[in-house]
């Protein structure tokens, strides 16, 4: 088992404790998301998972991403989810028991178990893909974590960074178009109105 887990540094008790706590939060939250009937409870379970992921980020010394994870996911995305759940008023009517497709649920469980086992087997086969190659900069370079991520984003991935700016603008415009309640026209006009505004902006990203 030791070669499976590639022990290189002696594990310390605090590190193990933090990892186990984060892992429990992640798994409990994840199971809560798919097991809760009420979507509000699912959203709150998702906060637990996202917080657990942030804990694991800190444990791996990715402090900047941990902070961003909390701010963006727990602070913005989950709030957006909760807002839409309450806006639509769908917080109780989920028929978990009715199953239109025969044996869809057992098949889904089987498929997921096979997939997870395959992923882990791939990891073992590849020796967990460890190996030293520093492509864009060391994680623990001369700067702090924020500085290293910043250097990487603004030098190597500058084009991708600019593309995300376009992506965010398009997403905002798209959301406004989708959610707009067109005044005089019926709601049928919502989807066709997406086409003329969506098409030219799409080309901006690809070009």
């Amino acid at each position: 088992m030791t070669d499976l887990f590639m022990v290189t540094v002696a594990r310390t008790i605090p590190d193990t404790t933090v990892f186990v706590a984060g892992a429990l939060m992640i798994l409990a939250g994840g199971i809560g998301v798919i097991a809760c009937k009420n979507p509000v409870h699912s959203a709150l379970s998702m906060v637990l998972t996202l917080f657990g992921v942030a804990v694991e980020f800190i444990e791996q010394q990715a402090e900047f991403l941990a902070a961003v994870q909390i701010i963006v996911y727990a602070g913005a995305i989950v709030v957006l989810f909760l807002f839409v759940i309450m806006f639509l008023g769908v917080d109780q009517n989920d028929d978990v028991h009715d199953e239109p497709l025969v044996a869809q649920r057992p098949l889904a469980v089987l498929l997921v178990i096979i997939s997870v086992i395959s992923i882990i087997a791939l990891g073992i086969e590849a020796g967990w893909a460890v190996g030293p190659h520093h492509v864009t900069g060391k994680t623990f370079g001369p700067y702090q974590n924020v500085g290293e991520v910043g250097r990487s984003v603004f030098t190597t991935y500058l084009f991708a960074f600019e593309a995300t700016a376009a992506l965010l603008i398009i997403a905002v415009v798209g959301a406004v178009v989708l959610a707009r309640r067109s005044g005089a026209a019926t709601s049928d006009a919502v989807l066709p109105s997406l086409a003329p505004t969506g098409a030219p902006q799409d080309e901006e990203v690809t070009s």
Partner: protein
């Protein structure tokens, strides 16, 4: 810091499996979206783990971009859910079968 990377990768695989399972067995569109977020987070955890194990900051940059894409995806996705709900008054995936019928 001293935890072997394989533990994180196994945890990430489990989280991905939970997300995929939820996506397959739940009918509520909003919960299916949440399961997508779980799967994205599993990928993020793998990225950060590889970043640490390979000593390469590129993995963390990738997570940064995944976060941006996830935020945009949620905004557009929830916009679509609201638009569908306005027309069909449902957020259950089985009821939205207009293109099949």
């Amino acid at each position: 810091m001293s935890i072997p990377g394989s533990w994180y990768l196994i945890l990430s695989a489990l989280l991905f499996g939970i997300g995929a399972l939820g996506l397959l067995i739940r009918r509520n569109v909003l919960i299916m979206f949440m399961c997508l977020e779980l799967m994205l987070n599993a990928a993020n955890l793998s990225f950060v783990t590889f970043s640490r194990m390979l000593g390469d900051i590129a993995g963390q940059s990738a997570v940064f971009f995944v976060l941006v894409v996830a935020a945009a995806e949620v905004v557009v996705g929830l916009g679509i859910v609201v638009a569908i709900f306005r027309r069909r008054s449902t957020a259950v995936a089985d009821d939205i079968s207009g293109m099949r019928d």
